[in-house]
């Protein structure tokens, strides 16, 4: 029983990590990666649709929540012929992207496809997302004020 709860939590963390990489990726990049995968048979459980979410902040950054403003979101759900159900959510209005995320989420849960989707889709996308993030971090770091360097330079 405990083992199964742990397994579920582990699976959920894995699914969330996969969803995060996919949500941060361009639809075109996901599409390209998926071309290298022999996709399993699947059907739409929920037709992709666009909608809104109300984005919440916190008073003072860490206090009670308040409504900041809305954001567009696309969502979809698919079911593999083997039964796994995947959900796709992403900011923006790209329903194709939501559908691809849902399909990947379903494959992540499938013992047959998990390794393939990790190798062919998630790993390359994760590398791209990380590269973009570290490029931005490096650019940002160059604008950090170093008061000490100024003092040493004068001496």
């Amino acid at each position: 029983m405990i083992a199964s709860v742990e397994h579920n939590e582990g699976m959920q963390a894995q699914r969330k990590a996969a969803m995060a990489v996919l949500a941060h990726s361009d639809a075109a990049a996901i599409e390209q990666c998926l071309e290298a995968v022999a996709l399993p048979a699947h059907e739409n459980l929920r037709q992709p649709e666009n909608g809104l979410v109300m984005v919440r902040g916190r008073i003072g950054g860490d206090g009670a929540p308040f409504n900041l403003g809305e954001a567009t979101v696309s969502r979809a759900a698919v079911r593999l012929s083997t039964g796994e159900v995947g959900f796709g959510y992403t900011l923006g209005r790209n329903s194709r992207k939501a559908q691809m995320i849902a399909l990947c989420d379903a494959m992540v849960q499938s013992s047959e496809f998990a390794a393939t989707v990790e190798a062919k889709v998630l790993a390359p996308l994760r590398a791209t997302v990380a590269a973009t993030r570290s490029r931005k971090a490096a650019e940002t770091a160059a604008t950090r004020v170093d008061f000490y360097t100024m003092v040493r330079g004068e001496g």
Binding site: A23, G61, G69, A71, Y89, R135, A141, A142, T143, V145
Partner: protein, 368 residues
């Protein structure tokens, strides 16, 4: 009173056709693309998203193009679009402490954990027009530095550890989060509703109010404790999936103002605070918002309410530029019947005035 006036259809149709022509401008000049607006008029897009109250760069860019660069018209278009989509729910509150910081400055401490990070800013530019930009300028690639893995905690959190600043109001699971897009405003309004109102408020209006409070119309002696801008992850509890799914990230600007302290017989004195948060890189907006958030706390903090910036009904009822423009601009609509009745009344009054001006001399003569 408005009356239906027939006969304008053709003129209206042709006026819109002319508008489309003027919007396009000289047809020998290449047309603006949405990515050009989104990538190169970034801060304009950020403002339209913030005041349009909808995070979607592409839609905001389209709105700016359609509105010929008229920001309030663009904001109006975005607000109207919102009404066409269903709302799936509310996100988990974003964690600005975990922001991937692109800019982060404090005017209260020189040495803050994570450092002072200037990022892309107009600050320290000389505000001289740059003729290079007039034609095909390709900027240098940005310098890079060694990114630190150190956390960048909020300055207010650091002050809070020593109890030097008031804590943020704690969340209460039993109190629903106020939403002015669902229920009409009523006063007094709680801080969550006030912040929602200020977040979508006109930047110019908040700037003027914040400025007035600095000049003495309302008590405000703030320090910019921290301003940060960067990417924040957004999560949404999806009922179908049964857990909070990541939606991606959005750019936000946050401003923490540190204000004069309060204390009482039972509470040690500590700094008070004002808070600002907006979509995109919206520094002036969030600074103004934080100033006005603080002035609007006058009632809560037992301060005398005597300046416009402290009057929540005044501020919140006039902060929305879509509402404001609607009421101001409705004066353009036909008021022919109204005006005819005013004109009739004025003619009558003038006639009576003229008759009265003649009558007294006769009466005076009669009395003598």
């Amino acid at each position: 009173m408005y009356v239906a006036v027939k006969g304008g259809e053709r003129a209206i149709e042709n006026a819109h056709r002319l508008l489309a022509h003027e919007r396009r401008g000289d047809r020998d000049v290449p047309e603006l693309s949405l990515p050009q607006i989104s990538e190169q008029l970034t801060l304009g897009v950020d403002r339209v998203m913030t005041e349009g109250s909808l995070y979607d760069r592409e839609l905001a860019a389209l709105a700016i193009k359609q509105a010929r660069g008229d920001m309030i018209e663009a904001i109006f278009l975005v607000r109207a679009f919102r009404a066409t989509l269903p709302r799936f729910g509310a996100t988990e509150p974003v964690d600005t402490g975990a922001m991937q910081v692109r800019r982060r400055i404090s005017s209260t401490f020189k040495d803050i954990p994570g450092g002072q990070i200037l990022g892309p800013t107009f600050d320290y530019t000389h505000r001289l027009l740059d003729p290079q930009l007039a034609d095909g300028f390709l900027p240098e690639t940005p310098a890079t530095g060694e990114a630190s893995s150190a956390a960048t905690p909020r300055v207010t959190d650091i002050l809070g550890r020593d109890g030097l600043i008031e804590p943020s109001p704690a969340s209460d699971a039993d109190t629903p989060v106020g939403d002015l897009t669902r229920e009409p405003l009523s006063f007094p309004a709680d801080r969550d509703l006030r912040l929602q109102n200020l977040a979508r408020a006109d930047e110019g209006f908040l700037l003027a109010l914040g400025y007035s409070s600095q000049r003495g119309y309302g008590r405000n002696h703030p320090f910019a404790g921290e301003i940060r801008f960067g990417e924040v992850e957004v999560g949404f509890f999806a009922e179908d999936a049964g857990f909070a799914v990541p939606l991606g990230s959005i750019e936000l600007t946050e401003c923490q103002m540190v204000n004069q302290f309060k204390g009482s017989a039972t509470e040690a004195p500590c700094f008070t605070r004002g808070y600002g948060l907006a979509f995109g890189q919206s520094e002036r907006k969030t600074m103004s918002m934080a100033l006005v958030d603080r002035t609007l706390r006058a009632r809560e903090l037992g301060e005398e309410v005597k300046a416009p910036a402290q009057d929540e009904e005044f501020v919140m009822s006039h902060s929305d530029n879509v509402q404001a423009t609607g009421f101001v601009e409705h004066l353009k609509l036909p008021h022919y019947v109204d005006f005819q009745s005013e004109l009739g009344l004025l003619r009558k009054l003038r006639k009576e005035f003229a008759e009265a001006a003649e009558a007294p001399s006769e009466m005076k003569e009669a009395a003598e």
